[in-house]
Point group: C2
Chain length 495, copies 2
């Protein structure tokens, strides 16, 4: 056992870090390779690893070390102090949860996810209704354990975006709901050209192409891999093992590329946290809202630009000459920037995407405040969709059952997607000030301006700064929806 308090602290969090890493691998593998009948045994393993982690977190000896080192935090180096503060905030939450409650919640979401999968498959919301009710009840109980002086929603969303409140979110969504629907009406309807769909795209060739792209943009394959999954995501097993996971629908190469670049945005953030932070609790990207800004700006602002495709199309044509030989940069850019109300959030364009989030935010707030009953949720979903986007889903899989989040206990999570879009536009505006000629560089396949600026300003800091502190430090102000509104207005009304 080390002698100084700070070394004892690092010694203790090291084992927790390893257990988190093991849990991440178990979850990654569940999506990648695990055969279907192993589901129960996998849940058992995850529950054990999470229990071992929780035991270490709430261990009395650890509490003593953490509280003591926290008391003395002003004597520590900046990195040590921030890491201790970060851990202390986590600890203060976790220590309030009875172990039995943690296990109960874990079982409820495990069960809930299974019933959600079945309900979605059978297009029958009632199969998920009871589990959703349980998850909402437990979420409220969770908020009650953590801090019963605050609104439930604020406690829940704080786990994903530290410091954000429903008052902040209301302000943001009020701006968006005022600006976006009118913009949508004002836009001329464009025809799809089908440059990237309708043909068959060989998976191996598509994968090889995306591998080239992500390497060129800056992904380090000695410290990361590309996995195959049913739903794309990024996961950090350790700081030297960052996995961006994609899928390749054979008839939609646009989806493969765009979702691939999206996950790359997360991956670059994680791969470029400063190595001085690797042994600390600051080693990951700071919040969902900052993380999503990195994936969304790479996917949307860079990835759907003419500059990007000037570079990326010839490479695509090299890999798939027969399928893509006839396509022009204009065709692709046109197709990738169509705006049209649609049912599925993950396939929505930049303008309507946040309306999807607004819908979820309003519904989950109403559910938590007992203004809406779970059994009335499908109807409320459809009515809200009609109101906001003027379309109505024909079946639950296109509506209320499309997202896995609630079934996994992630209530209060959705707004972080919108925060990601807003933060992305706001950071990009600042980037453009330093690099007004970025389009020229990227059209040549030179991503160094982008890579270095975001590494310098965002990625390397890991969780050193809290989200809004980071936004203020880089852009001079906290998250402000005006940048995003200006960005979409300029992009979609100048065409």
């Amino acid at each position: 056992m080390p002698t100084t308090l700070i070394d004892q602290y690092y010694h203790k969090i090291q084992e927790m870090k390893l257990l988190t890493s093991v849990a991440n691998l178990l979850e990654w593998d569940q999506q990648n390779q695990m055969p279907p009948k192993a589901t129960k045994a996998r849940a058992d393993k995850l529950a054990l690893i999470n229990k071992l982690h929780h035991e270490r977190m709430i261990d009395k000896e650890f509490a003593r070390i953490l509280n003591n080192v926290y008391e003395q935090r002003d004597t520590l180096s900046d990195i040590d102090r921030r890491s201790v503060e970060f851990t202390k905030r986590q600890y203060d939450k976790k220590a309030k949860l009875p172990t039995a409650f943690v296990e109960k919640f874990s079982r409820a979401t495990s069960h809930g996810h299974t019933s959600w999968v079945e309900a979605k498959e059978k297009e029958d919301f009632s199969l998920f209704q009871k589990d959703l009710q349980t998850i909402l009840d437990l979420s409220k109980q969770y908020a009650d354990y953590i801090d019963n002086s605050k609104p439930v929603y604020d406690v829940l969303t704080d786990d994903y975006e530290e410091g954000i409140t429903s008052r902040d979110l209301d302000g943001i969504f009020n701006t968006l709901v005022k600006e976006l629907p009118p913009l949508l009406k004002q836009m001329k309807k464009k025809q799809k050209k089908n440059a990237l769909e309708g043909r068959r795209f060989d998976k191996i060739k598509t994968r090889a192409y995306i591998e080239k792209l992500v390497e060129q943009i800056g992904f380090d394959f000695t410290r990361g891999t590309m996995g195959d999954v049913p739903h794309p995501f990024e996961t950090s097993i350790t700081e030297h093992d960052i996995r961006i996971n994609m899928k390749y629908p054979p008839d939609d190469i646009g989806y493969s590329i765009m979702s691939g670049i999206h996950e790359l945005g997360h991956g670059l953030y994680e791969q470029n946290v400063h190595e001085d932070y690797h042994q600390t609790d600051l080693r990951n990207g700071v919040s969902q809202g900052i993380h999503e800004s990195q994936s969304r700006l790479l996917e949307n602002i860079i990835g759907r630009s003419e500059a990007f495709w000037t570079y990326a199309l010839p490479l695509l044509q090299e890999h798939l000459p027969d399928e893509m030989g006839h396509v022009t940069v204009d065709d692709i850019v046109h197709d990738l920037n169509l705006v049209e109300p649609s049912f599925i959030r993950t396939e929505a364009d930049e303008v309507t995407y946040n309306i999807h989030i607004l819908l979820r935010y309003q519904l989950e707030t109403d559910l938590l405040n007992n203004k809406l009953k779970v059994r009335d949720l499908p109807e409320a979903w459809n009515a809200k969709m009609k109101e906001l986007l003027d379309i109505e889903p024909e079946k639950p899989s296109l509506g209320v059952l499309q997202d896995a989040h609630w079934s996994m206990g992630a209530v209060g999570y959705f707004p972080t997607y919108t925060l990601g879009n807003l933060n992305g536009a706001q950071l990009w505006k600042r980037f453009e000030k330093d690099h007004p000629k970025w389009e020229k560089k990227i059209a040549q396949g030179d991503f160094s301006e982008y890579f270095n600026w975001f590494k310098e300003n965002i990625w390397q800091h890991g969780s050193f700064y809290q989200p809004q502190e980071l936004m203020k430090r880089v852009t001079g102000e906290e998250t402000n929806p005006d940048y995003f509104v200006a960005y979409v207005k300029e992009k979609y009304t100048n065409n």
Copy 2:
């Protein structure tokens, strides 16, 4: 906590079982997906999980439960009793090892494996020499902890093949060394036809073909997967998650198919252990020597037969018409059954394979008995190769550095490969008695006789019977090299 002793025992081993399963996944992933720079973090995770397992194994409360339930074993059901006995044998070994020694050994093999990889790459044995010395010293110390009344080799090999002694092995190898080299001289040299090599075989098509094959033979993809690895192996994450891992050298489809079927033999064994054993310590195949019998007989006796290729060639031609259209069953069977001394054990034919093992057995015995110094090992290897097979490797990667086993601490392991070959031939002889027309069935792609007989007689029993007990139960006698000798004599002198 359950109330009866036997339930307390099952409760305790359940957590150990989950930890073993986690370690297996960490190791599998290390071969499959892990990026190179994650090596150290992976070693840390494995060390932690193994430590947590060891702590539970040597925990006083567990010892109390295990010893008490062991005392009362005659009152238990057969399954419970055998599981308790199995665990007790493991415990009696593990409890003798100081935790510090376990960690030291783990570090030594982790380091040893890395230096072996480097030594092999640079063709320089001296880079591995010091670590090999350490591993041998620790192996002797290990044997000393476990049972210093027995020969070191007997203690070491018992971990892989319970109950076998160097006296047994000497007897077996004496028979083989008397029979095999003369047989080799007697055989006419045949020319390679290159039916399965020299062309380029698309990996995706090859993989799709092997997937069809293994499914037809009986692999259950709802409880297993096929992974991609640099060195083929099988691993059981849990009883519902059996992974057969293969590689696809683009110029040698014979290797892909034969190694694939070999791993399938292991996989079928693991997938078909009786479900009553899943919660017990009897849930895996019983020993390396029985396990290897299942992979070797499927690969060699079935997989290299005319009957098999009568079925398998048309399917291969469907998948790779351009590459395989011109090939005949005779061509393939001829090529797959060539016998010729060669350097690499894993690519050796059925006849010379056991000579490779004999060489390793003699050398590791001499090393452990101080009859041979580590620094003289390369020279001794080459001399032995010349003596036994009349060929001499030009570089260490073709000789003394070809196998990873010693670097991973597996000293005393090699003979189990030979036991596998002998057991396979002996079991097959018994199978043929029940199913003399097996060739007709398999030529039609009907593997049910094979599948049902081995499930019934071997697979379902897991570790219920000890290896030699199982051999006796099924064939009427313990491992006897005569069956194998008769099999190769008949196969290779009648051609």
